[in-house]
Symmetry: D4
Subunit: 147 residues, 8 copies
Amino acid sequence: MWNVYLSGEIHSDWREQIQKGTEDAGLDIEFSGPVTDHEKSDDVGEVIFGKEDRQFWRDHKAAKINGIRIRKAIQDADLVVVRFGEKFKQWNAAFDAGYAHALGIPIVTLHNEELVHPLKEIDSVADGTAQDPSQIVELLKYLLKEY
Amino acid sequence: MWNVYLSGEIHSDWREQIQKGTEDAGLDIEFSGPVTDHEKSDDVGEVIFGKEDRQFWRDHKAAKINGIRIRKAIQDADLVVVRFGEKFKQWNAAFDAGYAHALGIPIVTLHNEELVHPLKEIDSVADGTAQDPSQIVELLKYLLKEY
Amino acid sequence: MWNVYLSGEIHSDWREQIQKGTEDAGLDIEFSGPVTDHEKSDDVGEVIFGKEDRQFWRDHKAAKINGIRIRKAIQDADLVVVRFGEKFKQWNAAFDAGYAHALGIPIVTLHNEELVHPLKEIDSVADGTAQDPSQIVELLKYLLKEY
Amino acid sequence: MWNVYLSGEIHSDWREQIQKGTEDAGLDIEFSGPVTDHEKSDDVGEVIFGKEDRQFWRDHKAAKINGIRIRKAIQDADLVVVRFGEKFKQWNAAFDAGYAHALGIPIVTLHNEELVHPLKEIDSVADGTAQDPSQIVELLKYLLKEY
Amino acid sequence: MWNVYLSGEIHSDWREQIQKGTEDAGLDIEFSGPVTDHEKSDDVGEVIFGKEDRQFWRDHKAAKINGIRIRKAIQDADLVVVRFGEKFKQWNAAFDAGYAHALGIPIVTLHNEELVHPLKEIDSVADGTAQDPSQIVELLKYLLKEY
Amino acid sequence: MWNVYLSGEIHSDWREQIQKGTEDAGLDIEFSGPVTDHEKSDDVGEVIFGKEDRQFWRDHKAAKINGIRIRKAIQDADLVVVRFGEKFKQWNAAFDAGYAHALGIPIVTLHNEELVHPLKEIDSVADGTAQDPSQIVELLKYLLKEY
Amino acid sequence: MWNVYLSGEIHSDWREQIQKGTEDAGLDIEFSGPVTDHEKSDDVGEVIFGKEDRQFWRDHKAAKINGIRIRKAIQDADLVVVRFGEKFKQWNAAFDAGYAHALGIPIVTLHNEELVHPLKEIDSVADGTAQDPSQIVELLKYLLKEY
Amino acid sequence: MWNVYLSGEIHSDWREQIQKGTEDAGLDIEFSGPVTDHEKSDDVGEVIFGKEDRQFWRDHKAAKINGIRIRKAIQDADLVVVRFGEKFKQWNAAFDAGYAHALGIPIVTLHNEELVHPLKEIDSVADGTAQDPSQIVELLKYLLKEY
């Protein structure tokens, strides 16, 4: 069984495409990823540990909780797919990539041609760079097939 | 002696401000950082290992060479300061932060108030967040002073 | 499945509250913790390995046996909750926190407002600080929910 | 050359006694320890990174800065001496002991007879327990002598 | 249960001999190895991630994908058997041996007498050197038998 | 479930006593140990990998094979019990203890009173020292009981 | 200061070219490598530890001694350059590459165009591939220059 | 510069022979070893930390202090030479060998022919086995010579 962490963009359905594709292929993969309910993820610090006056601490408390969840999932992963979309800074996706790489966990990136230059450092340590989720499905089919 | 890696933005003089401030204070610090000559850094892959037709491989070869230099410097660092500026994606700065954090090396971030929300994941694992390079100088004065 | 170690205070029912709350929520969590039968835990060294004249060695033999049990449980844990009560020194709880932190295992602390200052070092490496066991239940619900 | 970290109590002169004793013996030891100027240590977060309304965040910011300093020193240490005094909670001393032990760094404790029972877990992983700083001096003389 | 990685030569049936021999003996072993469909393994980079003009990048993309698969399997292995045949350079088999050895995973080599001298460095860190797959079967029978 | 490695003496039934005692107590423990068929263990190198003229290489080949088995078992163990009997050098038992200790795996020793002085270095890193196998059974009952 | 290990081919003067080039450039580099006196390296086992009847053990004893030297040098290296020549199997060079990679030490390969296909696995984890020693000199100039 | 730990027998002058031989050869080696003043080593626990009634704790306290010294020296060593003499159990030498091996530090053993069988497990992980200290001198000359 493989554990695959799907890091990055939460505003498109790329995770579902990969999960559906690999399920259709009958692959035994456990997927994990960040909390994709944006609001819930942003609010969780205050919801559980109490209100804050400053935005910094509000974000801090939420990010620390999400960090527990994300770090466990990345540490358990055999592969981390890092998706960079068109919008947003997505520094957390780049952070996840650096974190995974330092732990020796392989990374595959997923982004459009126009991001090639700004993502060169991350692509240079990745074991592959895809433009489309269907390529990740093909990759996983290849990796999990018995020979 | 402390080793401090200065990661991120290469288009302002924040590194010089920190270096001058700590030199003026007589602190024994070895600073390291990425190659800040942008053009040289981008071209190095082709210059040393030969021309490429595709931008992807051109960037790849350069990023791998720079990676040798950067990873050694971060691994040797006692502290990594990560600077996010106004412009550019700066995904490599976020990548460095993730890399350092996984190795257990402390991080301090340096960025303006408006980046608080997009940088929450990185700030949440940092041991401090500064808005101005002079605060990093003060931090280093405190950390290195003998008591 | 998550492994959660519940460190610290053994004279109140905070462990039961957390275990009941998460069972009621149907979460798949394996809890572990120190031997909460105080007398048995104190006596075990002499009971198994023989009587001692000095209190120091009596305690030593018991603490070493308990250490085997505790260290295995912390090493296996995905999260360590550290509870500081009103009474007793509870240095072992602080020791567990330091031990877990050095291993890279996330910590959440659980204590009253008045302990904020003396616990600042431990809280500063924790990924959250709760005042009530019900907050730990909410945290675990969030961490284990599938998205 | 040996590096020795002196953890714990900051309200008596035990550090000076050890340092003087080993200097008198001509031993080549680099000592480190926490910032012993209590006020400066408590204030440093606000002084460098700005004011906070809540005591929790005030302490948090200071403790994180001190943590950079302490963790580096413990990681570099060949031996950690942990002193527990009569007063204060001293949970940070116990935390340091747990942190050092998980890293495989030897610990020696220094405390009075009446703390034997509450410190049994920490003493049980220590390589020695002293009542008086002069014993630490004797220990270091023995450890550093050439045979 | 044991995990055994079978590294090296893909042009003879040595893997099948070992697998059949241990199945016949009723041993509970999970075998893994590289993709033995040579063409598929060479083509996979271009098939999944797109065509390349240069042979170097064509091979590079395929080798990186195969590397994800191989490294995971070696990391999970309790034993790595490294087979060197008569033909081909087989540098990847030697690379696997170095990789496994650095991770502390035991290696057994499998090669003919005439390769003794050129393989001396690898044999010198191996826990055994066989000439015939049947010896590996005997070895596994011995290692897995309950006493 | 606990994994316990039983290292040392192979000429008495101490392993059986411990296994029977814990089975009777219904404990879920997986025991492992060296091959206790002395002759088989000594001969295995030649039997599998061929005859040798010198005793040194004969022993070498056998010891390397046994080493694969032993190291895997110790690495998987939660506890290593090391038994020193009256006869034989038993340097392999002491070696196992050093190996386990460096990996951070707890050790309990089992030997008679008269071996206290020559075993002081090993006992000093053990978490307990027993004279009789029944004490190991009691220890395991305590360690595995749920509280 | 950088430590660079020069692995592989011992029958051409590529090491001297690199060392001379970097000395001429005034770079502060400590080079290490295998014993390049082929005969001495092959004989050392018997010379120090005594004659053997079989070629296997003769090689074994020499390779183990050389292994002490090589592994220390690779572990200390910041960069490993792996040279594959036209002749000989050079499995030890490939082994060194695998060993260095598992330790996280960056590799640069040095070989002719015709070896691209058989070396694809090793090149795929290298941070650069050169055809000529002068390119390694240029690389080191870039890596060590202060910016 | 090399660090070499000389473990084992303290009742003959083998350490002096090695040190003299390498000094005469002008080698830059830092030797370390246990405290060879037997009485001082046995008494140190009581001398520094106070009298004990039982031999077990007397030895325990001394062995823990010596352990601080020995473990630091082995961890710093590039090579551990383990000497087994005719007399005494020397379990601590075997323990040191296991400890060093688990840390990946190379071992060379030094003992007479008649100890070949009882030391087979330790010899099987050693990178060489000598009968005479002069062979260790030759080994160190070879290892440290520049090529």
